[in-house]
């Protein structure tokens, strides 16, 4: 079970290659990689800066990961979130889950990214040709996270 905040580029494929390697109890691995898009709301994105709240971020991610493990029989979990300035095409976040069965891996992966998006203290600043702007929270993210309330 690993949660990591990284300040430079990371390689999701390389991280996944090492994830759950050599285990014979894993039947399925699900993953989600979030990537900086080159466009948002019709405007070009030149770069994206992720600000976060050091300390609280790690605490919240650890809590979200523990909640996922309490809800699904997970054999392993990996969460990597990049902070700082990054360019279009670069990965922002990787969530991976391993379980004996696919439903647990897939559902937990969706849960982790939904809760991370609404409960971990990160803020996105987009650089566009007309200046920098803070990304606004989306109601659809709240709705996605609310699916998992109980």
């Amino acid at each position: 079970m690993t949660v990591r905040i990284v300040e430079g580029p990371f390689d999701p494929a390389a991280e996944l290659a090492g994830f759950a390697r050599g285990r014979e109890d894993v039947g399925g691995i699900a993953s989600f990689t979030g990537i900086v898009r080159g466009e948002h709301g019709g405007e070009s994105i030149l770069a994206m800066t992720l600000e976060h709240y050091p300390g609280m971020t790690e605490r919240q991610l650890a809590r979200i990961e523990a909640e996922a493990r309490a809800r699904w029989p997970l054999l392993d979990v990996l969460v990597i979130h990049r902070v700082g300035r990054m360019l279009p095409g670069e990965p922002i976040v990787l969530v991976a889950t391993a379980s004996a069965h696919r439903a647990a891996a897939l559902e937990a992966c969706s849960f982790l990214i939904d809760w991370l998006k609404t409960r971990a203290p990160f803020w996105k600043l987009e650089e566009t040709p007309s200046g920098a702007r803070w990304v606004e929270a989306r109601a659809s993210d709240d709705a996605a996270a609310a699916r998992w309330e109980r």
């Binding site: 709240y53 976040v93 998006k117 990160f122």
Partner: protein
């Protein structure tokens, strides 16, 4: 535990940090500032643009000792309070 707060660190993130013009400050709020809501009002007197942001509902979120907190959260014994807009990570 009478609500007295000493040497509290207040932190601001994202556009709230830019509006206030500070990432953090060390403060000693008066004893009558006993909750997150009261702290917001008191900080608003020092930072007019913080008061402006707080006037819009649901825009300024808070964390107390690195846990999300609502306005009625007591501040007794608290060392760090943070204010920030809704999160947008992932």
């Amino acid at each position: 535990m009478n609500g007295t707060v000493e040497d509290m660190r207040v932190r601001y993130f994202a556009w709230l940090r830019q509006r206030v013009g500070l990432a953090e400050e060390e403060l000693e709020p008066p004893t009558e500032v006993r909750t997150v809501g009261a702290l917001k009002a008191w900080l608003g007197e020092r930072h007019p643009r913080f008061a402006e942001a707080c006037a819009a509902p649901g825009v300024v979120r808070a964390a107390v000792d690195q846990e999300f907190a609502e306005d009625d959260r007591p501040l007794a014994g608290v060392r760090e309070v943070a204010f920030f807009p809704p999160v947008t990570g992932g």
